[in-house]
Symmetry: D2
Subunit: 328 residues, 4 copies
């Protein structure tokens, strides 16, 4: 599925190596102020090439507004946002001949009988740039009204926070910053000591050509008790549905922490494209050894934090609009 929502509906499109990825947002109320800079800020949090704990693929991910916003105001019409694909190097991709274990290469071929001839096609994490662009509008819509959304890296591999607090986004960005040599790395884990250990773990995995999974926490904080109560079931259905559609997510758990806030834990699998040699088979079923040479993240979790926040925001804004229709 590429569409989320009932009243606020987001439809995404795009393969990793097509002309662009993007989305259409329907049902966004008119007369609401949205600047291109606001959308860009969230895309930049997600973009690749941020540091040596992310992929070295360098894509600027510049958003273009094609419709629905004029003079920084929403028009009430469908909003089309696009991000051009610029840094494509199909030559990197050996898996045209050998499907990657754990990735969608084999799956797609079986399901549809065709395959995108480079990258992970539709299943590429690149598709999430469109989700972040769309969700950034929803974050803006909801942030000063009824609810706040903050996500952070809770665990990478076996290194984990020991407590769960209602962090602010500022704390996540600040406490997750670690300096190694000349480089400032951002794990988005809001505890300096844990963040440092996570960094070392990721850099080690990177040097070994391996990848790591982990857990992202997402805290929804409400100021309206009616909407908070309304969301109790919706978190398990609509929000869960949105979050579990993120590629790499493999599990979902709700911790209802306390009065007026709900905490969600999302398990991410390790990236499938690794340099370490894997024994697998090619399209003809012959046993082959696969060593991937593409530029990929040793751990997606730091970059996945804004994806989780924006997907949660899409689901929340949709629920909020439905909720409004039920109130006098």
């Amino acid at each position: 599925m590429s569409t989320f929502g009932r009243l606020l509906r987001v439809t995404t499109y795009g393969e990793s190596h097509g002309l662009s990825v993007g989305c259409i947002i329907e049902g966004f109320p008119p007369g609401f102020e949205i600047t291109k800079d606001h959308i860009q800020e969230h895309l930049t949090r997600r973009k690749p090439g941020q540091s040596s704990i992310t992929t070295s693929r360098s894509e600027d991910d510049i958003v273009e507004i094609h419709s629905g916003i004029q003079n920084n105001l929403t028009l009430g019409t469908p909003i089309c946002l696009q991000i051009k694909n610029l840094d494509t190097r199909p030559g990197d991709y050996i898996f045209r001949t050998i499907p990657r274990p754990g990735h969608a290469d084999f799956t797609y071929k079986e399901k549809y009988g065709v395959n995108s001839d480079s990258g992970g096609g539709r299943a590429s994490a690149r598709e999430t740039a469109a989700r972040v662009a769309a969700g950034s509008l929803c974050l803006k819509y909801i942030e000063n009204t009824w609810v706040q959304v903050v996500s952070w890296v809770h665990q990478v591999h076996d290194i984990s926070l020991t407590e769960i607090k209602n962090y602010t986004r500022n704390e996540v960005e600040t406490l997750g910053l670690v300096k190694f040599g000349d480089e400032i790395l951002n794990t988005r884990c809001p505890n300096y000591d844990i963040s440092e250990k996570i960094c070392q773990k990721i850099l080690l995995a990177r040097s070994q050509g391996d990848s790591l999974g982990g857990i992202i926490a997402c805290c929804l904080t409400f100021i309206d008790i009616g909407f908070f109560e309304y969301m109790e079931n919706q978190v398990l259905s609509w929000v869960g549905y949105a979050l579990m559609s993120i590629p790499s997510v493999k599990g979902f758990k709700v911790l209802k922490k306390n009065h007026l806030s709900i905490v969600i834990m999302l398990a991410f699998k390790p990236v499938s494209t690794i340099r370490i040699s894997q024994e697998t088979c090619d399209w003809d079923g012959e046993i082959r050894s696969l060593e991937c040479r593409g530029r990929h993240d040793p751990c997606v979790l730091p970059r996945a934090v804004p994806i989780v926040e924006t997907m949660a925001a899409i689901a929340l804004m949709d629920c909020l609009l439905v909720y409004k229709s039920l109130r006098k």
Copy 2:
């Protein structure tokens, strides 16, 4: 609404003077051959500037495929098609100060409190370029299987065909061609004599700064009796819903003509943007006289024929996919 369909879902976006208009098509089966030329052919039937009976706005309406099709094969993923807006001259548009009677200028302002600052915004007929692009894929999908769709101009103002036959698209294009001076004009009315009278009527209206409405007929011909019977109610609901969403359509009537074909009649209103002076009021309610100088069609019917065909094809393909799910 900017979304049509249940299994085959088309979502359009675009204002007349934004960066582009376009669409996302979801649910289109994979492995189906679609060339850019095929889409372009239908866009070219709709494009402005074809002749002196259409607007002189000259837009080439070149389609770009951004996702979902690779090597001329559908991938089973969302298909994004875009058409850049090139020939925009916002200066033409006096109705920034005086809303046009019968157009969406006043409506939009009242509904949403904001307005696109040029052209008809979302309500512009330009949005239908995205529908034609999407529907051209559906026409291709259905044409060799269970059903054919052909539309033609049945009536312009008071000049009308006297009979209703199952015309072919070739007959519509050929018999609708009329020569005036150096120019070949295409009314898409499949009778040379009527077509000639229609041409004269449109050229007269054009010279007087006026515009004309009329009726387009659309014939659906089936080769499968089960699907034909299934469509009987669907024509009145899903197909009607799709066709009545075309800007300018004001009425819908079903003539079930005979065994295995259904004929639909669609009434179109005259274009609202005319050179003739109209007494109306400005945004402040002051009585004003409005003479529009934009480049607009004296009669939309010839260009609306491919719009009707492609919108019908979207609804039909969606119904066909649902129908397949009900069969063993």
Copy 3:
């Protein structure tokens, strides 16, 4: 389709001779006062056996509230309404062996390969009792807020009103009453003289074993200009979609009459089940003569007036809830 609406969603069920017909209404706001008597009043306007211009099938059409309303207050949960089928006489139905021309008997068999073994099955006008029950809640919801809905019989066969006014429901019920012999008949045509002629025409058709079609007008009157403007396109899409799903409706036309009101005209075909002998063929394709002896209306239009009103109300309330979500 058996579901209407996006936020206010009505799903109907029921064949003419099953245990019951009914509906589930989702998305109806909580805390709203609804009495069983209110629903019953609208069902009684639609019920058969009202007079000699309707069918003599006598069904009391008593509504039962199975969920969603307690102590005359809506709970915010799905509302299930049911109407038991009591007066079923399957023996009446000769068309088990010969499908009726113009009815759904043959259509259903072709589409689905099965057939309900009595009555018109799902296509029976009886299904509309569920729509009236559901729509009566919507009429209540909207009537004191933003819009009023009034329908009336505009034309039966060739006898027609000469003007279109914004009638009240009271005028429709009062001016449409005609007395013949001992019986008061209600045509729901709001002009006594025309009403009397319509009555005579229907009684004649009845005595001859024939049936008559006609036109119902439906006037939507708004008090909020923003919602009125918002509805302009919705009338052509969502309201049209709802109204054209009524069995027997064959055409739809919008007359936007004046400031703040929209008038719709709906063409109804004559009832297919008639006593007059029709030449047709049986299930095996053999030429047969069919004379239907079931108890059916010589003209559905008087009883269809509340169906049109309530279906329009379902579509309007859904649009109103969506509209609310777009406002600050």
Copy 4:
């Protein structure tokens, strides 16, 4: 949300103490054999009063078919199934004055401003009877075609199976049977020793007036590799969405076990209505002690097994119908 599915759509209704609970199923293909006994068999697996490890509320849960099935064949029309509520004793319910911690009493009041005056209202587990009735049709539809669904109790409180196998439904029912005194109890945990320990744990909780949570496993086994691969993401979105809507479910995890089967783990919370005294507050915020005397399950897991199976079947059948539309 009370509606599941895109092509196969199930809408449920019903509060615990209204006239009935039930559902409407749309999009079920025609001509498919379904007996009332088949539906009843699944309802009987879920019904209360089965043994001393379930609630002593004794409801026979007899299904009535109101539409859509005739002579044991589906008609292709909406299928309405109903289960009358018979054994209602509103007097049991002290929580009219004190909302139960962990149940929906307080939530509903805050969300909607109204409350059902007995039982858990819409949030009662009773609503799941309608889901089981609907899903039993889907189980029948899919079982001999592309996929099988089997669920079992994997863990109650701290007693758990140590391995996960592809059990058959017969094994679940047989190995889960335990005899205590005169009574045969069914835990639906497919290992006799673990089952016995679970029984003792539940009986102890019951005697103490307490309740227990746990984990249900659900294994989907496919015979078509294309559909298996197609379902990979759908399990994380559509199936997850369906399963997480079950009241009491609090977490969802996917274990993709091996070639052609997917195992899901669902965490259930303990029942909120317990005899043990809980310190809480009443509707006015006054601290109160609550001891519930209603007849409720000490552990819902054994009865939830058929709910999980049937909800998974609804999601799977819907996905299967969509999948069919994508194939040539």
